[in-house]
């Protein structure tokens, strides 16, 4: 498996608000046997995640998602049974305002809950995968590997992201967006650059999670596009060849053709960079017939957008849940550099050769990318 498979999801015409274009994805039938709920955390999104006994990190975590593949609650309308406990209420204001709970330390990014449920932190799986990219270092100790790195591990990497609220126009666009009755997903474009894709298994889950898009993290590029980008044009329907239309049925066929034309244009043009790339998938958790993965792009530097993300697929590899994060160009460069270094077994000369550059140039690039800690002082 190296691609995203969006079979079963149909693209519907986009809705534009300023520079933001939202493309609804509609499922004919919801994915059977999987539901997602939202867990809202206190503390304005600041959270600590314990990865293992010794490692933890601090990050912005407004909410978590609970995947429920027990099959309960899928028939009960109000999320009956146990699933009601899992944040189906949207804000949980009553509980949060009256009882001061101790700051919750999240144990691992994906954590099994009692029953057939798994709590995971949206986008954190993906970001952690990206941040830890090849940071295990080389398998053998080598001369340029600093003593500090060997003794204490590498210092943590940090990446800046922007909150959805600070992407200009996104909050308004989500507010005025008209959700389709069977909608299970959305593609967010800012200045017609794909900023995020979001897919859930069931329309009711989508309705509850729609507003949470504004609490998500977005890359630097998306923020800049939102800030400096001009309003994008609507995809205006144009009925051509009107001289051949003689009946109402003919007009209806032409109108339907416009809807089809949009769906094709979107999948082939707008979402191409997401759907046509091949990804490196890493399995995080298996739950019944569903699997939770995180994926990394190939880090090729051809100027197109590249996305990291996480997804839940069913036994046929079709996407039931998807959330992506668009990397900015410096982030892609960093990934590319780390990839090349790892491919060359962390030997600078070989890596420089693979990049078609000199050793000095490579050192300069490593420093510029903020990885000086990887290098010994005298290099």
């Amino acid at each position: 498996m190296n691609r995203l498979e969006l079979t079963g999801l149909t693209t519907r015409p986009s809705q534009v608000w300023g520079g933001v274009r939202l493309v609804p994805l509609v499922r004919e039938e919801p994915v059977a046997g999987l539901r997602l709920h939202r867990e809202v955390y206190e503390g304005l999104g600041a959270g600590i995640v314990e990865l293992d006994d010794r490692t933890h990190y601090v990050s912005y975590i407004p909410h978590g998602l609970v995947a429920d593949w027990s099959g309960e609650g899928s028939d009960a309308r109000d999320g009956g049974g146990q699933s009601a406990a899992y944040g189906t209420q949207f804000s949980g204001l009553e509980a949060a305002r009256t009882v001061r709970l101790p700051r919750l330390a999240h144990h691992r990014t994906a954590k099994r809950r009692p029953g057939d449920r798994l709590r995971f932190l949206p986008l954190h799986l993906a970001l952690e995968g990206y941040l830890a990219l090849h940071f295990g270092g080389p398998s053998t100790a080598w001369e340029e590997w600093s003593r500090r790195a060997l003794q204490a591990g590498l210092s943590p990497r940090a990446e800046d992201t922007y909150l959805g609220w600070s992407v200009r126009g996104l909050g308004d666009a989500l507010r005025v967006f008209e959700i389709h009755p069977d909608q299970c997903g959305v593609m967010v474009y800012v200045s017609d650059a794909l900023a995020a894709a979001f897919v859930v298994p069931h329309p009711e889950d989508y309705r509850l999670l729609h507003a949470s898009l504004v609490e998500d993290l977005y890359g630097e590029l998306v923020h800049q596009y939102g800030l400096y980008g001009a309003p994008v044009p609507e995809f205006g329907a144009r009925i051509g060849g009107e001289e051949h239309i003689r009946t109402l049925a003919g007009l209806r066929a032409a109108a339907l053709g416009q809807e089809r034309a949009w769906a094709e244009a979107h999948d082939g043009l707008f979402a191409r960079e997401l759907l046509d790339s091949s990804y490196g998938f890493e399995r995080v958790y298996r739950m019944g017939s569903f699997t939770l993965w995180r994926f990394l792009p190939p880090f090729v530097r051809d100027g197109s957008g590249q996305h990291i993300g996480e997804t839940i697929t069913d036994h046929k590899g079709r996407v039931a849940y998807l959330k992506t994060f668009r990397l900015s160009d410096p982030q892609i460069r960093r990934g590319h550099l780390l990839h090349t270094l790892a491919g060359a077994d962390w030997e600078l000369s070989r890596a420089a050769e693979a990049l078609g550059a000199t050793r000095e140039e490579l050192v300069r690039r490593i420093r510029a990318a903020g990885f000086s800690a990887l290098l010994k002082g005298n290099v």
Partner: protein, 513 residues
Amino acid sequence: MNTPESPADLVAAEDLLLFVNAAITATGQREFRSGAISQHLSLDFLHTYVRVNYRRVYAACLALDINDHNAARIVLGLLETAGEASTEERRAEGRLIAARLALLPPQRVYRLFGEVRRAGINNRRTRAILRDWLAARPDLGHDAVKYRSGVKTAARHVHLRCPEGPARMAEVGAFLFRPGKLPRYGHPLLDAWRRAHYEQGAVAELPFSVAEGFAARHGMKRAVFLERAAPRMTRLERLRTQEQRAVGDRRPDVDLAVMPLTRLALYVLALPFAQRAARRAELTGALRTAARRAAGGHAGSWGRVHAVLDDSFSSSGSGQKRRRPLAVALACHYLLEALAAPGAYRAVWTSGRGDALLVRPWGPTPLGMRVLDALEPGPGGAVPDRLVIVSDGWDNAPAGLAGEVLRVWRRRLDPGRRTAVVHVNPVYDSEGFDVRRLAAGVPTAGIRDAEDLPALVEIARFAEGRAGAAELHAYLDRRVARFLGAGVGAGVGAEVGDRGAVGDGRPGREAVS
């Protein structure tokens, strides 16, 4: 009329239509897609632009079915810049202003007086207009209790004489300016207000909105208070509190059928689905009766009518105009049913649902496909005589399809204009300074109350460009003449003939029984 029209005339006519659309729909409140501030800025610009360039027409707009917010603004604008008008213009304006003030709900007029005071307008003419209006009030004592600060501001601003002595006016003067001086008042309401401070029994004698405050102060139980206050409520207050006054299944007998149509639609939409389904016969009956009354003389005269009604998510309006666009669509549904020939009406909701009573704002707006559905001939292959589209002009699945469908259909399938198409839009678009249009060839009119639909369809004719600027001005002159002719005294009568409805359908109109 065959007089050649200069481009300037056409531009003027277009500006006027633009302004009328704005003055009907915009209230300076938040809409689904634009905020209150942008509405204010946009409306400010329009008012200034039209007032400076077409002052005569600006004043004449007072005779049209524009909303109260804009009517008050026009009055203020005219009074503020009286120096720019000639003597003759001022006289005509004065008559229009007086006639319009007589129609406005009193709370609006008192607010307008406050704005006049803040703007520092205090010439002899303004004082005369205000004094005449105050003199025409049926009971100033009632106003003094209900709109206390408003009356006080107005009286002070126009130097209203409240001579000392035993007369009625003197009492009102004492009530407003020397409170607590008189041991008792001869006027029953003034005296009730005095007693209500310490006597619960007097609370029920006061107007409802004033009594509410006293009831809260006395800690009266809401249910008990509502029961006692019911006889003194206005019609709309009675409708508003109806659900609170219901005891079990027994509802106090408010005659829903006498309510204005759009108000009634708003009331129905505020009810939960289960109640709407359970009271289907009652609610449908009331809506039908109100619609028949609103249709008046036009009933049954529109032939075969097909309608596209927007119940997409955006019809939920905003926090300030809750469900207003949907209520207008629902009211139009029943009104069109009454206007169409019996059995020759068909409605298509954008969501595809068929039950008008259970509509809710939900989902996208596939307006193009719905227009196609509505254009399908009715039973027996009969082409509709009219196609009415009630929508906010946003068409997003896909965008612009409705306009394209209408354009191609008009050009290829109905070049002879067998079917008249009109689009009415309840939402003001602050960026476009107008209501949003669907297509260039389709006339669009702003709408606020569904009751105005027949009059608006007349105006929309001009927007299509098939009737010229001269005709538009003639129409305007006719409206003004009718508005003034029916006169200040019987001001409501003009409206009755015009709307073909009982003229008291306006929001906030006093109807103390």
